[in-house]
Structure formats: C-alpha cells, structure tokens
C-alpha cells in the first residue's frame, strides 16, 4: 500500500501542521464555526506544542524499546540456539495481536498505576508485535544462496548476521517499524484516559465539554503526524531496498 502525495502538497501540509502546533491562535477563525455558545475554539488548557512533543516522546520511547526487544528476540529465535522457540513465537505474535490496545492499557493500570507508565507499557507491548513479525519474516525468507555464499566466504556467524542477514531484511523490518509507529501514534491518544500527557487530552477535553473544535484539532494533529511519519519511513524503506538491490516497491 502506498501513500502518494504530490511533493508540493506535502510541503504545504507540513508547514501548516507545524504552524498550527506552534501557534494555533492563527487558525482560530477556522475552528470558530465548530464551537457553540462562545466556547474557546483553540485548546486552552495547555500548550499544543508541549502536548505534541510529549506525545511524540512517549511514542518514541516505546517504539525504540520495542525495536530493540523485537529485533533481539527475532535474531534469537532464528539462530540454532533459539530454534525451539520459533513455532511458539509465531503463534504468540498471532495471539498477541488480537488483544485490543484499550484492554492492554486498562490492564496495565493496576500493575503500575496511572500516568505515562501504563501508556508506555501498552505502546511497547502493542508495538512489539508488528516489528517482531516482520523481523521474523525478513530473517527467515532470505535467499538461501546468499546465506550459503556468506558462509562459503568464510564469514563467522556474527559477521553473517551483521553484514548479510540484517541488511538484507532491513526493508521488511522497517515496514514493521512503520506499522508499529502509526498504530502507536493513534493508540497513545487513548493513553489520556489513564492520565498520560498526550494529544488525547485535547480530544477528551473536547468530548467532555462537547466542543467539536477540540476534538477535530487533536485528531488532525495526530493524523497529520502519522501521515508524515508514515511517509518519511516509507522513503527510508525505499532507500534501504534500493541499497540492497531489491525491487523498489
């Protein structure tokens, strides 16, 4: 699935998004029609910029942890030492993805209390699965002759992993990371129901005070961030695939 936006449109949208986050006041007339009874048109219970940064920070921390653990586990179960875990880890990924994010989030609360922590745990666990799944796919579907050639060239197992297997599966792994980030960006908003500081606060404030303008601006910022991060990671994947001489998707 490709997301094609003309380059010029992309730049304009990015500038608009940044301008809105930094100085939402400029856009007040646009949101005014969405409010009733003279309610404020722009979120006024905190700065959108700091909420956006906290939102991105939470997603980044959870995703980086998920990347490290997921790739580490995928490497482990594709080595001879961990081969016994391979079938089980496949089914665990399948089972894990049936868990709704809200349930993971709500169930993390009794363990760690309210605030950022349950959100980080939910995002981490939920983000783990797509990355792990793709890393497994990448590492188990390498062309056999390339791996043989690496062994024939006298590479040690470590060299084979770092110079051949990981670079070759990088595009697939990146696709998993992209999926994980986009899911996490949206899921982080639900974190605000357990008192995490994310853009979900804006949306929930809108739902509570019946102010559509808040809901729309919170949603638009998250969706905008997701589209651009999706786009950027997609570009990264194309570069990685081209460097590996694979067909550019």
């Amino acid at each position: 699935m490709k997301l094609v936006l003309p380059a010029a449109l992309r730049v304009v949208l990015l500038v608009l998004l940044v301008a809105f986050i930094v100085n939402p006041g400029w856009f007040e007339p646009l949101f005014k029609p969405l409010t009733e009874n003279n309610a404020p048109a722009i979120y006024n219970q905190g700065s959108l910029l700091s909420l956006t940064l906290q939102h991105l920070g939470t997603v980044a921390v959870a995703t980086i942890a998920a990347i490290i653990v997921a790739i580490g586990l995928a490497i482990l179960v594709t080595r001879p030492f961990g081969a016994e875990f391979l079938p089980l880890s496949r089914s665990l990924v399948n089972i894990g993805q049936t868990f709704p994010p809200v349930a993971v989030l709500a169930l993390a609360v009794p363990a760690v209390g309210f605030g950022e922590k349950p959100t980080l745990i939910a995002l981490f666990l939920y983000g783990l699965l797509p990355i792990f799944e793709n890393a497994l796919t990448g590492l188990t579907t390498l062309p056999a002759n390339v791996v043989e050639a690496a062994r024939g060239a006298g590479m040690t197992n470590g060299q084979k992993l770092l110079r051949v297997e990981l670079p070759l599966s990088l595009p697939v792994i990146l696709a998993g990371i992209r999926l994980s980030v986009v899911i996490s960006l949206a899921t982080a908003t639900i974190g605000s129901t357990v008192a995490a500081k994310t853009l979900g606060e804006v949306i929930i404030a809108g739902l509570i005070s019946n102010n559509l303008a808040f809901v729309v601006q919170g949603g638009l910022i998250v969706a905008g961030l997701a589209v651009f991060i999706y786009d950027g990671l997609m570009a990264l994947e194309r570069v990685a695939a081209r460097r590996m001489g694979q067909a550019v998707r």
């Binding site: 809200v102 709500a106 899921t187 908003t189 979900g200 729309v216 949603g219 998250v222």
Partner: protein, 388 residues
C-alpha cells in the same frame, strides 16, 4: 547420560517457580476499592488444597523442563490450567469471611503468571501438533463450554469480578449485545460497500491509488477523535433530515461509533479485494475469456472464488480490530464492553476493568481462531480443486 533440558521449559519453569512460591496467589481486600493484601497459595487454599496444587505445579514444571513427549506436556498443561481455574474459585470462598458481602477476593499476580506460563506450554504443544482447522475450532468450543460450565456451576461466584457482574448482570448482557452488534454490523456494512469499491478499483486503475490513499489516511485518525468528529455531522443529520432521528441517527451514541468502525473497516476490505483480484493467475482469466464467459460470469465464476481467501483475510483483520475498537465507543455513549473498562478506570476498580476487558479479549481471540480456520479451509479447498 546428561539430562537434556527443554529451553522453553526452562523459561516456563522460571516463571511458574517464581509465581508459585514468591508471588501472591490471591488478593484479599476488605472492600471494593481499598488496596489489597496478597495471599500465597498455602494461605489461600484450605489445608489439603494448597500442598496438592503446589505438588501438581511442581510435577508439571518437571514435565515442561525435561524433554518429554508432546502428549505428556499436553496433559500437564491442561491439568494445571484446570486445577488453577478450580483453585481460584475455592480460594475465593475460603478467603471470604462468613456473612461478609464487602470483602473482595481477586486473582493476584501469582495466579496470572501461572496461567501465562502454562498457557505458553499449551500453546507450544498445540502449535507443534499442527492441528487441522476443524480440530482447532473443536478445541475452542470445548474450552468455551468448560469456562461456561465453571461460570454456571457458581464455583467462581465469590470472586470479585463475578461480584461486579452480579451487580450489573442486566446491563452486562445489554452492553454485550451492543458490542457484538457494533463490531459485526459495521463489518457487514464494510463488506457490502467495500467489495464493490474493491472490484471497481481493480477494474479502473485510475481510481486505485486515490481511493486507497483516502482510506489509508482515515486509518491514521485516532479512534477517539474519529468517533468524536462524527458527533457533529450526525447530530446535524438528526436535526435537519426528516426521518433520520427516527432511524436512530443521533449525534452521540451508537450511530457515530458505527460509522467510525465502518470507516476503519473499509481499508482492509477494499485493499484485500484489490490484492486478491490482482493475484488471480492470468491463465485462469484468459481461459475463462476463451470459454466465452462474460465479464460478470468471469467475476463471479473465476476471479471471486480465486480471490476469496485473500478477501477473507481482510475480513479477519477487520473483525478482530472492530471487536477491540468497539470498546472506545463507550467514550461517546455508544455502549459496549468499554463502558465497564472506562467506569473501572474512573473508579480505580480493576475488577470492573476486567469485567469489560476479559470478554473483549475472549471475543477477539475466538473470532481470530474461527476465521483463521475458515481461511485455511477455503485456501486448501481451492488448492485441491486446482490440483484436481
């Protein structure tokens, strides 16, 4: 001869050993919201029960730890899971002081970790057995009947999650019906609308990128925002279009939740229809055309049946995703199991969260197993036809 250990068994033994000896098995609370105190297995069960359960767990740990036949591992994991299910019920009635309706007993971390460890063992055995789709559905049914029997027998009635249920039995089933209706109804709507769009996108290449892009962008809008944004337009419809309100279209409630789930469901259905149709072998299409089939005959007689497993995969994604997302509907008054989850989060009453979360997870899990089995059945039957 050196003893060979099973590597997964080492992991399971570590988790189960910690859970059985160092983590509390049940939590006792004097009332619904005070912090609880942990009770270990030996304190939580009547005199004979505790040592008996521990002995069974230790035996099962050894079965997992050593390289034992699959059948042993299957028996060990099922035996421990059944014993745990029974024991937690016994612990519930044992720990509740007589004539006390305020005390709450709930499973604690040790119980959950034991369940996790032996479910891991069971999952590993079931994966290795490579069961056929029918057997998998059969096992799901047996498990559902077993849990249903335990619930009906009343042996869990002294546990806090069921006390929450007892207080809300009526609304629980009403929310359950709403939840299923939301998840299934939006799926049906998405299939009815999405299939023709997918076919159109397959036939008319110009449309494809544009339509998929729009659907992709809808997917990136966070669910609570999309639910919220639909409040406005639907509220306007209800006010200004005669008859709309009578059809149940309202600003808040089920209508925006339904529309949001429907919008989220469109992408997997449309995208998988396009991918499935694109994957139909050229030779099959050529042959059909050579036989003088019309476009319509070709679509229903050749392309559609061949693309069906891929389309079904899209439907599986949608159904599992919708069952989970429907919990968010509660935030905008749409009902569903999310009502209990968010009420529980609000009152920091975790049993109430579980009352909403456990049925949601079970539903999603059951839907995934059933649809996976159906997908495998259709895919293999196609292959068999192709060979024949």
């Amino acid at each position: 001869m050196a003893i060979r250990f099973d590597k997964l068994g080492v992991v399971i033994a570590a988790i189960a050993g910690y859970a059985a000896f160092f983590a509390p098995f049940a939590t006792f609370r004097a009332n619904r919201i005070v912090p609880g105190e942990g009770r270990f297995i030996l304190d939580a069960l009547p005199a004979v029960g505790g040592p008996l359960l521990l002995a069974l767990i230790i035996a099962a740990i050894f079965v997992a730890l050593l390289k034992t036949p699959l059948a042993w591992r299957l028996v060990a994991s099922v035996a421990v899971l059944i014993a745990l299910a029974l024991a937690i019920g016994v612990a519930g009635s044992f720990l509740t002081p007589p004539n006390n309706t305020f005390a709450r007993i709930s499973p604690a971390s040790g119980f959950w970790l034991l369940i996790f460890a032996f479910t891991l063992l069971l999952a590993d055995v079931l994966t290795r057995l490579e069961l056929s789709p029918f057997v998998r559905i059969g096992i799901l049914l047996v498990a559902a009947v077993a849990v249903g029997a335990l619930l009906a027998s009343g042996s869990w009635d002294s546990l806090s999650i069921l006390k929450e249920y007892a207080n809300r039995a009526g609304s629980f089933w009403a929310e359950a019906r709403k939840h299923v209706a939301l998840a299934l109804g939006s799926l049906v709507a998405a299939v009815v609308v999405g299939l023709p769009i997918g076919i159109l996108c397959h036939r008319v290449e110009v449309l494809r990128a544009g339509v998929l892009n729009v659907l992709n962008i809808i997917q990136t809008i966070p669910s609570i925002a999309l639910f919220g944004m639909l409040i406005g337009p639907l509220g306007w419809l209800a006010l200004h279009v005669p008859g709309a309100a009578a059809l149940g279209i309202r600003g808040i409630g089920t209508a925006p939740a339904f529309v949001a789930l429907f919008l989220y469901s469109l992408l997997p259905v449309v995208a998988n229809t396009v991918v499935g149709l694109a994957g139909v072998p050229k030779a099959a299409n050529e042959a059909a055309r050579g036989m003088g089939m019309t476009d319509r005959q070709r679509l229903f007689g050749v392309e559609f049946p061949l693309a069906f497993p891929v389309i079904l995969t899209g439907i599986r994604i949608v159904l599992v995703q919708n069952i989970g997302l429907a919990t968010i509907a509660a935030l905008i008054g749409g009902g569903g199991f999310g009502v209990f989850v968010f009420q529980g989060v609000g009152q920091t009453a975790m049993d109430l969260v579980l009352l909403g979360a456990v049925p949601t997870v079970s539903l999603a899990f059951a839907a995934a197993i059933v649809l996976d089995a159906v997908i495998e059945l259709t895919a293999t039957s196609r292959r068999r036809e192709a060979v024949a």
